[in-house]
């Protein structure tokens, strides 16, 4: 095995191995250090010995032994050898349950711990990417456009809070599960949206983050089967992500939905997404927001062309969304859909009403939607001004280039 192959295996297994190690050694930092130790041993041994039959169990076992070594050293240092070593060794001697189900339970615990509501949402995302997805601190820092040092500090404080504030390492009780699961799904969707349209930088998309989000939702769907909101979110992300190859040129320029080559869309992912939407919508109870959003994405995915898209039904689904989870962003999307049904003038009225209420102050796509409607109405001067406002509001290079193109087209 080459180091690159080993690194790939490690990356795939790190989240689950870490989740189990945390339970076994009862400490986030110790488990992380021990897993890094195990990775170092793997780099040393696997090139000659080959991949173990169960790499995850191997990493957990070696990691646990390394944790015991580390404990011994620090206990000896603090002169408290007897009691603690005994306790830890006792734990270590009980055979490690390496059945997949035990690993799965640990991953669920880890996800719910990282997404604990006592953390700031940004911290929840960072902690999830670092521990559950196994991204390095540098990679997490890049996702947040933060310095590595600052991100390391933030992660350190978060792990300290887990330990000092007594954040439980468990899946919440039944009555707490619903709100907590909503929080977990929101974190996964935040990871995805950053991958779908980056906040800033040279690239429109960050496929690695979109992939991680989809992987997490898949995992959650497998661990907590039969939940409409999980299936809905997974469907939504699969359908959005299926258009990835069509959404940008080789040079990194944005290709709008209306101009996309639909043969570039990932049909396998669309098929899976469509199946999941149907499953999600068939679940008992009132429709879930993610499932309805996925149903909208499904209508786009099924449409043979932009013009032949079922716009009235899309506008109708946005109205459903406005009832079950009203938000200014949904209102803006609804207005965009209405522009395809009742025309841009009616949509512009809706956008103006929305602006007047001040609900979307600072939302960077608001001037962009307004600019597009004004352009289609032939109101060039106002459109140009709106595109300029849109340009000032974004830090994403491909969006800036796109707005510049629109301004140039209008002469």
């Amino acid at each position: 095995m080459t180091p690159i192959e080993i690194e790939k295996v490690f990356r795939d297994e790190a989240g689950r191995a870490l989740a189990t190690l945390i339970r076994l050694v009862g400490d986030f930092d110790l488990a992380e250090d021990a897993l890094q130790d195990a990775f170092a041993v793997a780099l040393e041994r696997w090139p000659a010995a080959g991949l173990p039959s169960n790499p995850r169990a191997w990493l957990v076992n070696v990691g646990r032994n390394k944790a015991v070594d580390r404990m011994r050293r620090s206990i000896a240092f603090r002169g408290k050898q007897q009691e603690l070593t005994h306790e830890l060794l006792l734990n270590a001697s009980t055979s490690c349950d390496t059945a997949d189900s035990a690993f799965d339970d640990d991953v669920l615990r880890l996800i719910f711990t990282c997404c604990h509501p006592s953390f700031d949402p940004a911290v929840q995302v960072a902690l999830t990417l670092r521990t559950v997805c196994g991204l390095t601190t540098a990679e997490v820092a890049r996702a947040f456009l933060a310095g590595e040092e600052a991100m390391a500090q933030r992660l350190l404080r978060a792990k300290q809070k887990i330990r000092l504030a007594g954040i439980p390492y468990e899946v919440p009780e039944r009555e707490m599960l619903e709100p907590r699961l909503r929080g977990v799904l929101a974190v996964i969707y935040l990871v995805f949206t950053e991958g779908y349209v980056a906040t800033s930088g040279a690239n429109l998309m960050r496929p690695d983050l979109a992939r991680e989000a989809i992987r997490l939702a898949r995992l959650l769907d497998a661990l907590m089967p039969g939940r409409g909101e999980i299936k809905g979110l997974l469907a939504l992300m699969l359908l959005h992500d299926s258009r990835r190859a069509g959404r940008a040129t080789a040079g990194g320029d944005i290709v709008l939905l209306e101009e996309q080559d639909r043969t570039l869309w990932d049909q396998r992912q669309i098929a899976e997404g469509l199946m999941l939407v149907e499953d999600a919508l068939r679940m008992p109870g009132r429709p879930q927001s993610y499932a309805v959003q996925a149903a909208i994405a499904a209508l786009h995915a099924r449409a043979p062309s932009y013009e032949d898209t079922d716009w009235p039904q899309i506008a109708g689904l946005y109205e459903v969304l406005l009832r079950i989870s009203p938000s200014p962003v949904i209102e803006l999307n609804h207005a965009a859909a209405i522009s395809m049904v009742d025309g841009p003038a009616r949509a512009l009225d809706l956008v103006h009403a929305l602006e007047a209420r001040g609900g979307l102050k600072g939302y960077e796509l608001l001037p962009a939607v307004r600019a597009d409607l004004l352009r289609r109405l032939g109101r060039r001067d106002a459109a140009r001004e709106a595109y300029q406002a849109a340009t000032a509001a974004t830090q994403l290079e491909p969006l800036r280039r796109f707005y510049a193109r629109r301004i140039a087209e209008m002469g």
Partner: protein
């Protein structure tokens, strides 16, 4: 009469202290605590973990809202306290949410320092 003595300090300055300075400070607190125990004034006292471990709880429209970090409103003032024993943060937050003031004010939940 009973009085609550609240200790305010700069966490940043405290973080800069070296091991020897910390040890000296701990000894100073030990001596002070002993002296008020002996004089019969002492009722209870604890150190708190830093504000980075704090969670603030509010209940609005029947929903519990949690915020990462300490209470930071200057329009509300400290009005009381409870010291509770709870198995984990979730339990402590659930108790905090039941304090009557949680529906109009804020409850800051801070873990108490444990010395081993």
């Amino acid at each position: 009469m009973q009085y609550l003595l609240l200790i305010y300090r700069s966490e940043a300055e405290f973080g800069k202290m070296d091991a020897a300075a910390r040890k000296a400070k701990t000894a100073e607190y030990g001596a002070f605590t002993q002296s008020i125990i002996q004089s019969g004034h002492f009722k209870a006292g604890d150190g708190l973990q830093p504000t980075t471990t704090a969670t603030t709880v509010r209940v609005r429209d029947g929903k519990t809202l949690t915020t990462d970090g300490p209470f930071a409103e200057t329009r509300e003032q400290l009005g009381g306290y409870y010291l509770v024993e709870a198995k984990d943060l979730d339990t402590a937050l659930a108790i905090a949410a039941r304090i009557p003031e949680a529906t109009i004010g804020s409850i800051e939940v801070r873990p108490v320092m444990v010395y081993d």
